[in-house]
């Protein structure tokens, strides 16, 4: 159960963040030059690899197991609850849906206003935008995968999930724009929020000396409880939105 949930959680979280990075790289490549977009993205990937190589071993080697569980739990709760909060607001119509395609269009419009580089010269503006986009989205990926992989038995499923997500996003990138519009990002991010929050509660409680009935199976019923409560929150917020809409003439 923990293996499957870690794999699914890592794959979805990494896939969605990489999709946002891809939207920026595609916008740069299609508006300016693909060579500069790829160079900027590759430089960011190099920085992220170094960050991952430092952060993972540092976390595992320096923090003892019991406090590490609490640290992992709190880290996952910070990310998971934020994704869940945004997911609830989006599903209730209180926030615009998540869309990498919209990000792609916005980025492309902003890039079109920049002056084109002279032929044969490096396009540093394009490289910098692709670098920044990949770096910022990538840092979140590194943090989420590090905390998922740092728990006992978490390394393999977190790595497999991340690799699957990377392959899926590369496939989407190969087919360019159309798939970006079809991915139900709002719902997927909501699911990631539930999975990360369930892991967060599970590990934080263990770090505080509690144990769960049915061990790893607890992840499933915690996720179901979080799902039920968040769906109730969506229903309440949706009803409130309708009531307010009726009140306005």
């Amino acid at each position: 159960m923990a293996f499957t949930l870690t794999l699914v959680g890592a794959a979805l979280a990494v896939g969605l963040e990489l999709l946002e990075a891809l939207a920026i790289v595609l916008a740069v490549g299609l508006t300016r030059r693909f060579r500069d977009a790829v160079l900027g993205a590759a430089a960011a990937a190099l920085v992220l690899t170094l960050l991952a190589l430092v952060l993972g071993p540092l976390l595992i080697a320096r923090v003892p197991l019991e406090p590490l569980r609490l640290v992992i739990g709190v880290g996952l709760l910070l990310f998971g609850l934020e994704w869940l909060r945004k997911g609830v607001l989006r599903l209730a119509g209180r926030r615009s849906p998540s869309s990498s395609f919209r990000e792609f269009v916005d980025e492309r419009e902003a890039l079109e206003e920049l002056p084109a580089p002279a032929p044969g010269t490096a396009d540093w503006a394009a490289r910098a935008i692709a670098f920044k986009g990949v770096l910022l989205e990538g840092i979140e990926v590194i943090l989420i995968v590090t905390v998922l992989a740092a728990r006992p038995g978490g390394l393999a499923p977190a790595m497999i999930g991340s690799a699957l997500a990377l392959l899926a996003v590369l496939a989407v990138g190969y087919r360019l724009r159309a798939p970006l519009q079809r991915i139900p990002e709002t719902h997927l991010k909501y699911v990631v929020g539930i999975v990360l929050s369930a892991f967060g509660v599970f590990f934080a409680a263990e770090g505080l000396g509690a144990s769960w009935p049915f061990d790893d199976l607890a992840l499933a019923y915690i996720a179901l409880i979080v799902l039920a409560v968040s769906q109730a929150q969506v229903a309440v917020l949706t009803r409130g939105e309708r009531r307010q809409a009726k009140a306005v003439p």
Partner: protein, 69 residues
């Protein structure tokens, strides 16, 4: 956006209410653990206390959205 502001948004999220609620939930859970003691009900029931408090923190962070249009 400055680097410090970006990092704060990345780690703590867009609002203060959620990380503050989570911090309160963790402090309350730690206090409950102290009160219960290691041999009491804590090992079996402590996780559910944290789960309930975390869900309260999430609900509280959404309360503002109910008031806004």
């Amino acid at each position: 956006m400055s680097a410090a502001r970006y990092l704060r948004k990345l780690v703590l999220g867009e609002t203060w209410s959620l990380p503050a609620g989570l911090a309160l939930a963790l402090v309350a859970t730690a206090l409950a653990e102290r009160l219960a003691g290691p041999q009491g009900w804590w090992p079996a029931g402590g996780g559910f206390v944290l789960l309930a408090l975390v869900l309260v923190a999430l609900t509280a962070s959404l309360a503002g959205a109910l008031k806004r249009r």
